[in-house]
């Protein structure tokens, strides 16, 4: 065709470069959109109150206020609240990962009448908003004398979580039947098969599950706010409620500094468990 001869297609290498350029540009823009709010939070944490209210907007602080981080740390019992958050998060994440693996194993490898229906109900319960169960949950724990204790997180941990059960079920369903059959021939029961064979193979999902569960609990505001008194509460609640002046007005820059510090443990845990997390999400078919 004439047009082809007049405008010959660019060489493959050029086309690949162009595609990559477009792809990277889109990725940079999307990354910027995701990082934008966090970047604004960091900048807010480094400003004075006057600079926060200035016009036109000071995007970059004129004098960086590093001491805001120290002030935010000192204004409340930051370490105490962080310790409470860590206790609850490790407790829940550890227990729920094990219990969800156990339940997921059952759904993946065992047969029983009504299994599919039961699994459907379990997955359907993910659609139930937390707000709906809030008051009944409080009333139950109040009757059991567990308000203002960490027992609710132990019980929640032991009860497994539908999403994590689904995650484990998907993973275990993909493991070869021969493994199980060989173990049965060797005289293993289902419990031994789970502990000795399936669980050691599932470290990527265990890692993903732990990170997810830890993040849920670390970031949860509603449950600790509802069930714990101020001194036993978590960092998420403290950051939201305690950075106020004596007149109750918000101290925005210190709250922003505290929020930045609040994110750090999650980032560290993700960095440590990153490989397992990514592998876990890939191997369960949820990529």
């Amino acid at each position: 065709m004439t047009a082809t001869s007049l405008n010959p297609e660019p060489p493959v290498r050029v086309r690949i470069r162009t595609h990559r350029l477009v792809l990277y540009t889109v990725l940079v823009v999307v990354t910027g959109l995701f990082l934008g709010p966090f970047g604004w939070l960091v900048l807010t944490a480094l400003k004075t109150p006057a600079e926060l209210a200035s016009a036109p907007v000071h995007w970059v602080p004129a004098h960086i206020q590093w001491h805001n981080f120290a002030d935010a740390f000192d204004l409340i019992d930051f370490l105490g609240y962080a310790r409470n958050s860590l206790i609850i998060a490790f407790l829940y994440a550890g227990l729920v990962t094990l219990s969800s693996a156990w339940v997921g194993y059952g759904f993946a490898r065992l047969s029983a009448p009504g299994k599919k229906t039961l699994f459907g109900i379990l997955i359907g319960s993910m659609m139930l908003p937390q707000m709906i169960t809030l008051l009944p949950t409080y009333l139950i724990f109040a009757k059991l004398g567990m308000v203002d204790t960490y027992w609710p997180w132990v019980l929640w941990g032991l009860s497994s979580a539908p999403y994590l059960v689904f995650l484990f079920r998907q993973f275990f369903a993909g493991l070869p039947r021969e493994l199980e059959e060989a173990a049965i021939v060797d005289g293993c029961g289902y419990g031994t098969i789970f502990w000795r064979i399936f669980l050691p193979q599932s470290w990527p999902v265990l890692s993903a599950s732990f990170v997810i569960a830890f993040t849920w609990t670390w970031g949860d505001y509603i449950a600790p706010q509802l069930l714990l008194s101020t001194d036993k509460s978590t960092l998420a609640v403290a950051v939201m409620t305690t950075y106020v002046s004596s007149a109750g007005t918000p101290i925005t820059n210190l709250q922003a500094a505290a929020s930045v510090m609040y994110v750090v443990p999650i980032l560290l845990i993700f960095l440590v468990a990153q490989r397992g997390f990514v592998a876990g999400m890939s191997t369960t078919g949820l990529k």
């Binding site: 019992d77 009333l139 007149a247 109750g248």
Partner: protein, 450 residues
């Protein structure tokens, strides 16, 4: 019909308390014959649970309470859902924070508050003749706020329709200052705000003035009172924005928003409130009462150029200077440690914490005997105090409806009113729409109370 004391919690009652998104508890009104505290000194060695915000009781004050009274305080963050849950479970906090202007009638009507009259009658610390009239915000006689038994007390207060202004902003624009003790009119206030506002390249470098009150509920009811009317009917079961007075108040506020001379629902302040904007010198007039002087005093330069001005009036209207908050504490009827709670109540409102608040300048003390502690050493403090003392003569309680929460009113108002603020509908259309949505809400509230 109201539930009888001692009756088990009905489903209807449970729903009435939680569905409204506020308030308190079905607490199957225990009805035990009222057991009154033995008074001062009760409850030593006990632990009192206080549902408060962080600034109400600091950890230092918790320590001080233990030292002063022998009573330990367990703090619980104020949260309305948690309050409902605690009331419903029958194990409420001993003392709860509340905004007297909007919470007192609401909770009292639902019979979850303890009548504190017998406690006040016996108290040597909180004598009834020493109580500032602002504490009447915590009274409710079954129909009207401001009368009847006392259900709580304000920790400090301001007359929240007053405003602060920055003299340097006035000087720059060559605008004369408002009179020191005589009120300007709302119409003049808006005109002044327009003259002061500074805009450049689509950005506002100096806002002329903000006027949003504390809550839309109290703002609209006090503005209507200033126009000589009432936003509610006699039994507080309906609003009417189409009366000449309410229409005037609504029209003025919508005009204020439309002119964009200051923050409003369609032009929110990025700081969440206008104090930092005023502090940064970007706001010429700021609708806040005496309490904001506490913040202003922390910056000597700002204090020097700041003046407090009386609440404006509408032309031909009465001079009304209400308190739109009166934040304080109340005691649930089923509080487990009433004696200890009352002792902490006395300590908080009449002893060391009350004295510290009074001398801090963050609000007017709610005991008349503590007024001499208000800061008056520096020149700017003397100026402010003079204006404030004169303004107290014009204080009155503007009663609010027991059938809605301030938050519900705010949410519905902010849902409907922006269309008028943007000029998409007329003020008359807005008045009709507000009547419709708010009266529906009030009707539900009245059904719940019975």
């Amino acid at each position: 019909m109201r539930p009888h004391a001692g009756a088990p919690m009905s489903r209807r009652r449970f729903l009435s308390l939680s569905a409204a998104g506020a308030a308190g508890g079905a607490a199957a009104l225990s009805g035990c014959a009222m057991q009154v505290s033995s008074g001062v000194g009760g409850g030593s060695g006990e632990t009192v649970t206080m549902m408060v915000k962080a600034d109400d009781i600091t950890p230092d004050l918790v320590q001080q309470a233990l030292k002063d009274t022998g009573i330990a305080i367990k703090r619980v963050d104020f949260d309305i859902t948690k309050l409902i849950a605690m009331l419903t479970s029958g194990n409420p906090p001993d003392l709860v924070r509340g905004v007297g202007a909007v919470d007192a009638a609401y909770f009292a009507a639902r019979e979850v508050m303890e009548d504190l009259d017998p406690y006040f009658a016996r108290s040597q610390v909180l004598r009834r003749d020493d109580l500032d009239p602002v504490n009447d915000l915590w009274r409710f006689d079954g129909t009207t706020q401001g009368k009847g038994p006392r259900y709580g007390m304000a920790k400090d207060f301001s007359q929240d329709s007053m405003y602060w202004y920055n003299t340097s902003a006035f000087d720059k624009q060559g605008v004369s200052y408002p009179a020191e003790l005589e009120p300007t009119t709302y119409e003049e206030w808006l005109d002044t705000a327009q003259r002061l506002v500074q805009r450049s390249k689509g950005q506002t470098s100096l806002f002329g003035g903000t006027y949003n009150g504390l809550l839309k509920a109290t703002l609209m009811s006090t503005l209507t009172a200033s126009a000589g009317g009432s936003l509610f009917n006699d039994d507080f079961s309906r609003v009417d924005f189409t009366t000449p007075e309410a229409r005037k108040a609504l029209g003025w506020y919508i005009e204020y928003c439309r002119l964009k001379v200051g923050a409003s629902p369609i032009l929110p302040d990025p700081n969440g409130w206008d104090g930092p904007t005023y502090q940064a010198g970007r706001l010429a007039m700021c609708n806040s009462g005496y309490w904001m002087g506490g913040m202003i005093a922390t910056d000597p330069k700002l204090a020097e150029v700041s003046r407090l001005a009386p609440t404006p009036v509408f032309e031909g209207g009465p001079r009304v200077s209400a308190c739109q908050a009166g934040t304080g504490l109340w005691m649930p009827k089923k509080a487990p440690h009433k004696d200890a709670a009352w002792r902490i109540f006395e300590w908080y409102f009449g002893e060391a914490p009350a004295k510290a608040r009074a001398s801090g300048g963050w609000g007017i003390p709610t005991l008349k005997s503590l007024r001499p502690l208000m800061p008056a050493k520096a020149e700017h403090q003397k100026r402010v105090l003079k204006v404030q003392e004169n303004e107290l003569k014009h204080f009155s309680v503007v009663a609010f409806s027991p059938y809605t929460t301030g938050d519900s009113f705010e949410a519905l108002f902010n849902q409907v009113a922006p269309a008028a603020m943007k000029g998409e509908i007329s003020v008359d259309t807005l008045a009709g729409r507000l009547n419709s949505v708010l009266n529906e809400q009030l009707k539900r509230g009245k059904e719940q109370v019975g």
